[in-house]
């Protein structure tokens, strides 16, 4: 299926009125260096802060001497855990119902944990003062290997929690275990594999930071901060600090990339608030890169054991999974309360089989907290990786082409809406069409032929691998009765005001980090009201000026907030109909909508445009009983279900068998995210996600040495892909609208990050002709896999 782009009229500025390719409104400032990011915030009298962090992974603190730091002439204050204990702020709640240390009091539990907060006149002096603080540590044995965290003699990390005798966080399961076991017992073929999705980091180009200003006169706290969820932050500050919520304003300026790194509240933010209260001045705290990589939300760290059952002919019968989840020292994951393992239980993927069961055990280790981040759609990344790897393992066992095996088992279009064995209701899809399109673009048969020739005559040539993945995403959390974070339902508000001259402002609860909301959301309103997108201003990222909502993560902006904007515009359009009918002295039922205009059926000369109606709504036209003046609407959108974008990816790699170097030759991505509001922006989102996937599959990972030292604490060690590792991507698409979304759109921000890693991994393993090895495929990892002596990629290489 190819795109069906209905031509739309264009505005005076040359933009589409509605959907279509439109250059971004936000670019004008970014291109001139006029973006306004957190470190660009300057306030009169502002002080600068720096954090002293633990050099140990696990140690008891026996003393902290801050006197020399306090004596530094430019230091204004030094805050420690003891200071915070006096304010009852030494610990803060996490988004998962645990508590996390703001500044350590008793012990440090990971390398890089926050120990002291120095506030000085300038950043250089604050960092100088860190070197003047003396902390006495009594080192303790660290839990580094998650697989040993539950051993009886493992050190207990969370002895701060009453009655804790081990490192278990939770045991959780989904699916019908008995039924699943029965299917496996009777299956002709069962394949089992262990696989690790290593600890990775979103690593946005801009680190996290905050500027807090407590105005003692008005009692108002203003916090400029890198947050993807400003309203959630405001409520959490109210809860954590006991501050009055109506006196808190969160301003999220331009954000230099988020990818889930900027969802949570970090200790530095809380310290900046306390620092402003203590000093009476605005306090700025900005992470350096090492702090970002070593202490803020990492992602994944899932040790998975999968088993897949099928007939000899390749009909998949069931999948069961056992997961050991490394959550680090505090359970700080951000996800709907009901689902401690996020949406991992969507692991059955895109295939039709009845039996599924997963068991997830989460453990504490002496590592940074987090787990849900990096465009993961609440751990659908891990789920898709698991199923797409297991399907490939099964294909290997059966001696079947992995494309053929997938085609044989993909859900068929007539099965939608489809309820999975673990309870997800997929809204719509045409999976075989997407896979066929990807195979067509790739020239799949020809690639396999080339591969066969290469294998028959290997002399001096790189090994060639072809990897496929098919993913089903679930995005747009969520129906509020099922999904909340700390009790806050995951619905989003939206306010649309059409001004008297027909220009509009749209206020959103979500916050862009580069996704182009200022453009896309204007296009949604333009589509519904027929006014030019350049006449619609999007306002976001400021809690005093936008309605409540849970923010941008989990690809939820278009599915939730986009729906809110569409519904708000539709309400305005319906109100405009009544006002137009009043002005035209006819019944609203006599009017029909023609882009941007209500006109009399059968007499289209008689009509009113939205600007005319907007002016009338603010004028002296007498409106019918019960109809208020002005032209605006306020909506809270509670999505009836998630939306389920999907896609088929094919990766082609060449591997040097002598050195283990992997080169991604081609990457074909066919995405179906429903109708594309702005195809240019959608493709940009996919490009970025594909680079993420290549990064994770080939180089990104944070390992730890036996003492718990973080081995990925800078960009010299945590490698991001450069322009030279990324190929020129080949994109395709199919379009299957969501039946329950007002404009059928599904959300796409994380699709490629979720879908691409297994394609790359399957390609590398296909090249090597081995069934399993763990990412990231650095040259050493590839070579050792070829030797049959694979490396543990979560631990230091020995």
């Amino acid at each position: 299926m190819t795109a069906t782009e209905v031509p739309v009229p264009t505005s005076p500025a040359g933009n589409p009125i509605g959907f279509g390719r439109m250059l971004r409104k936000e670019d004008a400032r970014f291109l001139r260096g006029q973006g306004h990011y957190i470190d660009d915030v300057q306030l009169p009298g502002m002080l600068h802060a720096a954090i002293l962090r633990s050099s140990y992974a696990h140690a008891r603190i026996t003393g902290i001497d801050t006197s020399a730091a306090e004596a530094h002439p430019k230091v204004k204050a030094v805050i420690t855990g003891a200071t915070l204990e006096g304010l009852n702020l030494a610990w803060m709640p996490t988004l998962s119902g645990d508590v996390q240390s703001v500044l350590a009091t008793d012990k440090v539990r990971f390398q890089g944990q926050e120990v002291a907060f120095v506030i000085a006149e300038d950043e250089y002096s604050a960092r100088d003062a860190l070197e003047l603080i003396e902390v006495d540590y009594e080192p303790l044995p660290a839990v580094v290997d998650a697989r040993k965290a539950l051993e009886p003699d493992a050190p207990v990390i969370r002895d701060d929690l009453e009655g804790r005798t081990d490192n278990r966080i939770y045991d959780w399961e989904a699916g019908d275990k008995a039924a699943c076991d029965e299917v496996f017992a009777g299956a002709e073929v069962v394949v089992a594999e262990d696989m690790l999705y290593p600890r990775v980091h979103p690593a946005p180009m801009e680190t996290c930071g905050s500027v807090a200003h407590m105005d003692k006169v008005t009692g108002k706290l203003t916090v400029w901060t890198t947050t993807q969820a400003p309203h959630a932050h405001r409520t959490l500050y109210a809860i954590v600090a006991g501050l009055p919520e109506h006196k808190i304003q969160i301003i999220s300026p331009d954000i230099g990339g988020g990818f889930g790194n900027k969802v949570g509240i970090y200790p530095g933010y809380v310290c900046a608030v306390v620092g402003s209260i203590v000093t009476g001045a605005p306090v700025k705290w900005i992470e350096d890169r090492s702090e970002n990589l070593m202490s803020t939300s990492f992602a994944r760290d899932y040790h998975m054991h999968g088993e897949i059952a099928s007939t000899r002919e390749g009909k998949i019968l069931g999948l069961r999974v056992d997961v050991l989840a490394d959550h680090g020292a505090f359970n700080g994951v951000a996800q709907p309360t009901k689902y401690p393992a996020g949406f991992f239980h969507i692991f059955t993927g895109s295939y039709d089989y009845p039996a599924a069961h997963c068991h997830v055990r989460a453990v504490y280790t002496n590592k940074a907290p987090g787990g849900v981040a990096y465009a993961c759609s609440f751990r659908i990344t891990e789920a898709v990786y698991l199923v797409e790897r297991m399907v490939n393992c099964l294909a290997d066992e059966l001696g079947m082409d992995p494309a053929e095996l997938r085609m044989k088992n993909l859900l068929r279009p007539e099965q939608f809406p489809y309820t999975t064995p673990t309870g997800w209701e997929y809204d719509s899809g045409n999976y075989p069409a997407a896979l066929e399109e990807a195979m067509r673009i790739a020239g799949y048969e020809e690639l396999r032929r080339e591969q066969a020739e290469r294998r028959a005559d290997p002399a001096g040539k790189p090994l060639m691998g072809i990897g496929i993945s098919f993913f089903t995403e679930g995005v747009g959390a969520g129906p509020r009765k099922h999904m909340d974070i700390l009790g806050l339902g995951m619905a989003d508000g939206c306010e649309l005001r059409v001004h008297p001259t027909g220009k509009a402002q749209l206020r959103l609860s979500v916050q862009t980090q580069g996704q182009g909301h200022e453009t896309t959301f204007a296009q949604i309103v333009s589509h519904e009201l027929g006014i030019p997108p350049e006449d619609i201003e999007v306002i976001h990222g400021d809690t005093d000026n936008t309605p409540f909502g849970l923010g941008t993560y989990g690809s939820r902006s278009t599915p939730v907030s986009g729906a809110a904007a569409a519904v708000a515009a539709q309400r305005v359009r319906e109100k405009a109909r009544i006002i137009a009918a009043t002005a035209l002295e006819c019944s609203p039922d006599d009017l029909e909508w023609e882009l941007g205009r209500w006109q009399v059926k059968g007499d289209p000369e008689q009509g009113k445009t939205i600007p005319e109606i907007a002016f009338a709504s603010h004028g002296n036209l007498e409106l019918p009983e019960g109809v208020e003046g002005h032209l605006d609407a306020s909506v809270v959108y509670n999505p009836p279900n998630l939306t389920y974008p999907f896609g088929a990816y094919i990766c082609v790699v060449d591997v040097d068998p002598e050195t283990g170097e992997v080169k991604v030759r081609r990457f074909i991505a066919v995405d179906d995210c429903g109708p594309r509001i702005n195809p240019m922006i959608v493709e940009g989102q996919i490009h970025g996600g594909l680079a993420d996937g290549i990064g994770m599959a080939l180089m990104e990972a944070i390992a730890f040495d036996p003492e718990g030292n973080n081995l990925g604490g800078s960009f010299m060690d945590y490698l991001l892909p450069t322009s030279l590792e990324c190929p020129s991507y080949e994109l395709g698409m199919t379009v299957t609208p969501s039946p329950h979304h007002p404009i059928g759109a599904k959300g796409v921000g994380e699709s490629a990050t979720v879908g691409s890693p297994p394609a790359v991994v399957n390609a590398v393993l296909d090249a090597l002709e081995i069934r399993q090895a763990d990412m990231p495929f650095t040259p050493a990892v590839v070579w050792r896999a070829m030797q049959g002596r694979p490396l543990r990629t979560d631990l230091a290489i020995e």
């Binding site: 990339g257 890169r289 970025g688 680079a691 960009f715």
Partner: protein, 161 residues
Amino acid sequence: MQVTITVNGTETRAEVEPRLLLVHYLRNVLGLRGTHWGCDTSNCGACTVWLDGVPVKSCTTLAAQADGHAVRTVEDLDSGGELDPLQQAFMEEHGLQCGFCTPGMLMTLRALLDRDPDPDEATIREAISGNLCRCTGYENIVRAARHAAAHPTTAPEEISA
């Protein structure tokens, strides 16, 4: 110490600590905040500016080292509000998303295009290999550079082509 640095054609002068990094001189002393920083190890290139016409990482250059030299930043690319053809190309090809790496990318690629007005894809990829981007997967940045090569002026008739 006293430094005198010509920034975007204007002579600037300030009393600074010798340890002040050029990126902080630009951002905090001059208030030119278009130059960003993204790491501490000279890996990301978000801080790229020109020093005597050559793109360098301003987080790994002391303001003192620029004393008596000429620096050019992203703020100098457009002229009288009119975008440089490269800036225009970034807009046309969606070569930016969050915008954080963009100033560094622009300074690196402007230097490349001045040296080599018609670079091929491999040359472009090589040139920006010290500028990390987390949003675009580099695809549209490469296209933008090609677009700028094909449209070396921002005359309106060329933009609409």
